[in-house]
């Protein structure tokens, strides 16, 4: 090929049309304008998207967990506390364990190796291997470095008092939410709200800067109960003893502070261990003192007497003829087991005469009695906020027949809960007024409650109730050394299938010291079946033991000489049913 010098190339002499040059220039400029526009758009007008993408590279949102509040008794002893535990979970697809690995995991977790392999062979994407392990054990699982096995922080609630205070406290579910008792009643206060915050993390995962707190966490509030754990233990252990001794089906004890209306102890049997709730029956779970109503029997008589005194129908020493020990109203007859003859109003209470109480009741209008029962708080729940609380049964006065009015005077045809009964006795332990009950400790107790009876009436009934505990009354076994005690027994037939059966509920409600009442204790024992079933034999000793122990624990000054009790050799007067 013949070479041509570049400068002589014929192509150079060709002239291009000038528009081509301009076209290139315009295209290039246009491209620059587009680039500038795009960058302006990205940097200036629509910068959020890229900003978010950038932040997502180094910012993290972390959750801050909040612990559930503690529950303590009035002296600060812990009754319920949450501590961190860890749950082991797995992604079965990733968790391809060698047999040796599976075996060591199973040994650590103390479960069968077949169960581990079964869980890991699951089709699901997430399985719990074992929940709520102590952190030390969970650390040893981490040390195994198994693939696909992960851990999650959780809380577990512990109840150091165990079964002693189980019904009062209730328990929480596995998700740390209250399910029963105080745990449910105060759930919104106790449970904290988990928060979250945005932070910058470095390459090693350490937080280096706090960007913002999205939701500040709310720690659960601690709850201080009115409960006194020593009194609770006394109530529980003496009730348990009595239940075993009398082979009873169930029972309950309520201890109230007469000065403030605080609930110092509340024990029920049968009970359960809230730390280990594997096999639970409904009977164990029932907080009988609040959720079960029963016919109280003779413990209602003092209210009838108080109303008759209040309305001026009788005086303390008005004689009432109770002979011949029975009384027919309409077609029904009510009985006294022993004929007492002429009794004063005070002796009607002391010896617990049904005929005497019925005569007192029939001297009043049904509406008057209904109004008294209603203002004592019977027939409606106390609204303590406790789950499952019932109000008992109090029918409207218009539907009462005379026989019903007479039986209600001695506590049949009306049903109440143990806590209602204990609260109503405030009217006698105090000077005729009722304070609202409180589950939580009160720093400033209310001074005056709702007046139900006059102070004069309350003092007179208090004297009658003291007579019932002295020799000649129905409950000498309720006496305690060093203190003056007042109270009333109750023994009621249970209703089964609409008629009264030969099963009994023995009860005792009383207070001490009589000179300045401090504690009110109500005891109920359901179906004592070891021969004895009278309130004075079954429930009164429990009252005496709990009261004696409680007064000593609280350091209440004795108001009677400290000498051994003189139990009369004669059997106590049998009360009526």
């Amino acid at each position: 090929m013949k070479a041509i010098k570049f400068s002589r190339s014929p192509l150079l002499s060709e002239r291009l049309p000038p528009w081509r040059q301009r076209l290139v220039l315009v295209l290039l400029l246009g491209a620059f304008v587009a680039l500038i526009g795009r960058s302006l758009y990205l940097q200036g007008f629509n910068n959020e998207f890229l900003g978010d993408k950038g932040r997502a590279r180094f910012e993290r949102v972390i959750d801050i967990s909040a612990t559930r509040g503690r529950i303590t008794d009035r002296n600060g002893d812990v009754l319920a506390v949450s501590t961190p535990v860890r749950s082991i979970w797995a992604i079965p697809e990733d968790a391809q364990l060698a047999p040796a690995q599976a075996r060591s995991l199973a040994t650590l977790l103390d479960i069968d190796v077949r169960e581990v392999t079964r869980k890991l062979a699951s089709e699901r994407e997430f399985v719990y291997v074992k929940r709520q392990l102590p952190p030390e054990l969970a650390d040893r699982v981490t040390a195994l470095k198994l693939p696909g096995i992960h851990q999650k922080d959780e809380y577990r609630r512990y109840y150091p008092a165990g079964e002693v205070a189980a019904h009062m406290l209730g328990f929480t579910g596995i998700e740390d939410a209250g399910q029963e008792g105080i745990e449910l009643a105060f759930n919104s206060e106790l449970s904290g709200k988990p928060g979250s915050r945005r932070v910058i993390k470095d390459r090693r995962g350490n937080v280096v800067e706090d960007v913002e707190s999205i939701h500040p966490p709310m720690e659960g509030r601690d709850i201080v109960l009115a409960l006194d754990s020593k009194l609770q233990y006394l109530a529980y252990s003496h009730l348990k003893q009595a239940l075993e001794e009398h082979r009873a089906k169930a029972g309950g004890v309520v201890v109230l502070d007469a000065r403030s209306g605080e609930i110092l102890a509340l024990a029920n049997l049968p009970t359960y261990n809230p730390n280990n709730r594997v096999k639970l029956s409904g009977a164990q779970l029932r907080n009988r003192a609040l959720t079960d109503s029963f016919e109280p029997g003779s413990t209602m008589k003092p209210f009838t007497a108080a109303l008759a005194l209040e309305k001026g129908k009788v005086r303390f020493d008005t004689p009432i003829q109770t002979a011949p020990g029975k009384m027919t109203i309409g077609t029904a007859t009510i009985h006294d087991a022993h004929m007492h003859g002429v009794l004063t109003v005070a002796q009607v209470i002391q010896k617990s005469s049904n005929v005497g109480a019925a005569k007192l009741a029939l001297s009043m209008k049904p509406e008057e009695m209904w109004t008294m029962f209603d203002s004592l708080g019977f027939g409606a729940p106390l609204k303590l906020g406790f789950p499952g609380e019932v109000g008992g049964r109090l029918r409207p006065a218009k539907t009462w027949r005379p026989i019903e009015q007479a039986t209600m005077a001695y506590g049949h045809g009306i049903s109440v809960t143990l806590i209602q009964l204990a609260r109503a006795y405030q009217a006698f332990a105090r000077d005729g007024d009722l304070l609202p009950l409180s589950l939580a400790r009160l720093d400033t107790p209310p001074q005056n409650g709702k007046q139900v009876f006059s102070a004069q009436t309350a003092r007179e009934v208090r004297a009658m109730l003291e007579m019932a505990v002295l020799p000649g009354g129905t409950a000498p076994k309720a006496q305690i050394a060093g203190y003056r005690v007042a109270g009333k027994t109750g023994t009621a037939h249970k209703i089964e299938g609409g008629s009264y059966a030969n099963k009994y509920v023995a009860s005792f409600v009383g207070f001490a010291p009589v000179s300045d009442p401090r504690l009110i204790i109500a005891v109920m024992i359901d179906e004592p079946s070891n021969g004895k079933y009278y309130g004075g034999d079954v429930a009164a000793p429990v009252f005496a033991q709990v009261m004696a122990g409680s007064l000593r624990t609280l350091g209440v000054a004795p108001d009677a000489p400290l000498k051994p009790l003189l139990m009369t050799s004669a059997e106590p007067v049998k009360e009526e049913m």
């Binding site: 150091p160 937080v207 800067e209």
Partner: protein, 90 residues
């Protein structure tokens, strides 16, 4: 003019460096704060566990059992209790 520019450049440089070091110190302090807060949470957890342990050891059931069985204690009989009234002015 050139000298002024030089001074301004130096000042800017110094500001930039101090910002960097302030940021660094802030992060260090923040890490310390973080550690202290974690310690606070851990101590709180430990406190709860200790309270739990205490109430387990001091449980009424256990105390009563030890008192009765190990120490042979029993509640005083009514005749054994002597009540002492406070003497006024003493």
């Amino acid at each position: 003019m050139a000298r002024l520019n030089l001074i301004l450049i130096l000042i800017t440089l110094a500001c930039a460096l101090s910002t960097v070091s302030a940021n660094h110190r802030a992060r260090k302090l923040f890490t310390e704060l973080e550690a202290a807060q974690k310690r606070m949470r851990d101590l709180d957890v430990e406190w709860g566990q200790l309270q739990l342990e205490q109430s387990t050891w001091a449980g009424h059931v256990r105390v009563e059992k030890s008192a009765r069985e190990k120490l042979g204690m029993k509640p005083p009989a009514p005749g054994q209790i002597i009540s002492v009234d406070p003497v006024p002015g003493n």
